[in-house]
Amino acid sequence: MDLRPKRYVDTVVLSPVGRIDHSTSEDFKTALAPHMTRCAEGQDRVVLDFAGVEYISSVGLRVLMLASKQAKAQRGALGIAALQPAVREIFDISRFTMVLDVFPSVREGLARLSPKALAAFDAA
């Protein structure tokens, strides 16, 4: 899965597209892994731009939970931004909005995670 990474100073924005379910979650997990390795204190912050994600099943949410746990263990920061309305409902119903940092837009995610990255994003 191509996550189309874009770097804004110390923050990487990743943009998965389509459905994240049993047939794609392993690819999503594999593509996410190297970015999560570097999502640590003094290294990168990661924002997942979900504007292109149409659906996420429980197995996809589990990938996000594991990524969040990894980021916390490494004192990194992970945000998920720009959920489509149906995906936002799935996050609400599964209570993932209570355990993950979810932002209305990529810009708002960057604003919380890194002022330097926000400045670069606005200048781009």
Binding site: E26, S58, L61, M65, R95
Partner: protein, 324 residues
């Protein structure tokens, strides 16, 4: 017993982990809400009051999901009784049998998911066990099932030792993934992920299928396991499913606690083409409004994720009956 020969399921206990009861404050809150809504209405007869409750109040406003722990009856149209688990709901069921069918001459078949306390605690208060002439067969896949039942009757936990129960009581050990013919039903147990293991049961009578799957955790990234459960649920008319936790809880702070969620239950039923998903083994801290909200959210999730087949979503309550 169903007079028309249809398979019927009745829930005698639907709460997970430990029985709960509504508090005085909760009853008062419901009454205040209902009386306020009834202000200015003409409610002079029980019928008028009942019609008002049915028309004007939602389930949580006019009823309660109840608080007895796991016990479900499958009425097959035959004389024998079939039960899943013997939690505190079994006490209420036993009393109902005494009232409607008399104290003796009954035959009971109980299929045990496992022997955790909330699933066996109704048996010391199951009155048919105290009467000669009743016959109780307790089925399960655990080697220590009989020991668990005898243990909860032993001093100092209970005053009546198991050996003093007058009914004929036998334990039958089943093997998972093997099909049995018991009490007019085809029955197949399946191993489930839970502390000390638990077992689900797939019951079939003619063309109707009921799956009882409680106290089971599902690891969504174990595709082999997910496919096996989808097969276990395949084309079921009713899946009774442990939805004690939210998906977020089940994959984070309560991971490996042995329970599942509404989200995973729906996904498995969609994969299996099951017709109905019944949310079961409710979290004991959830009040009626919270369980009603869980039901509404699960119905909404079904709507936004529906493929070419609809899954009907229900939330079990003590006393609920479903005809298949």
């Amino acid at each position: 017993m169903p007079p028309d020969g249809r398979l019927r399921v009745k829930f005698w206990g639907t709460r997970g982990s430990i029985p709960v009861a509504m508090t005085s404050a909760e009853v008062r809150r419901k009454l205040i809400s209902a009386l306020t809504r009834a202000s200015g209405r003409k409610l002079e007869t029980p019928e008028q009051a009942g019609a008002f409750l049915d028309r004007e109040l939602d389930f949580a406003g006019a009823h309660t999901f109840g608080g007895n722990s796991s016990c479900v009856e499958i009425a097959t149209g035959q004389r024998d009784y079939v039960l899943c688990d013997l939690g505190s709901g079994a006490r209420v069921f036993g009393n109902e049998v005494l009232t409607t069918r008399g104290s003796s001459g009954q035959r009971f078949h109980a299929f045990m998911s496992h022997a955790h306390w909330d699933h066996i605690m109704g048996f010391p208060f199951f009155m048919p066990a105290y009467t000669a002439g009743n016959h109780i067969t307790i089925y399960g896949c655990h080697a220590d099932l009989e020991e668990a039942f005898r243990g909860q009757h032993a001093a100092p936990s209970f005053p009546v030792d198991f050996s003093r129960l007058s009914a004929a009581i036998e334990f039958v050990r089943l093997e998972p993934d093997r099909e049995y013919q018991i009490a007019g039903l085809r029955v197949r147990p399946k191993l489930q992920r839970h502390g000390g293991d638990s077992y689900g049961y797939r019951f079939q009578s003619n063309d109707k299928v009921v799956v009882y799957s409680t106290d089971a955790e599902h690891k969504q990234d174990d595709l082999t396991e997910i496919k096996a459960f989808a097969q276990f649920f395949r084309d079921a008319d009713l899946v009774i499913f442990d939805s004690q936790y939210s998906l977020a809880e089940a994959t984070s702070i309560k991971e490996d606690w042995g329970h599942s969620s509404n989200v995973v239950g729906l996904e498995l039923c969609q994969m299996a083409h099951a017709k109905r998903l019944c949310l079961y083994h409710h979290e004991p801290v959830s009040d009626d409004e919270r369980i009603a909200a869980l039901l509404a959210e699960t119905r909404r999730l079904e709507e936004i994720t529906r493929g070419d087949r609809r899954v009907e979503i229900l939330a079990a309550y003590d006393g609920m009956e479903i005809a298949l």
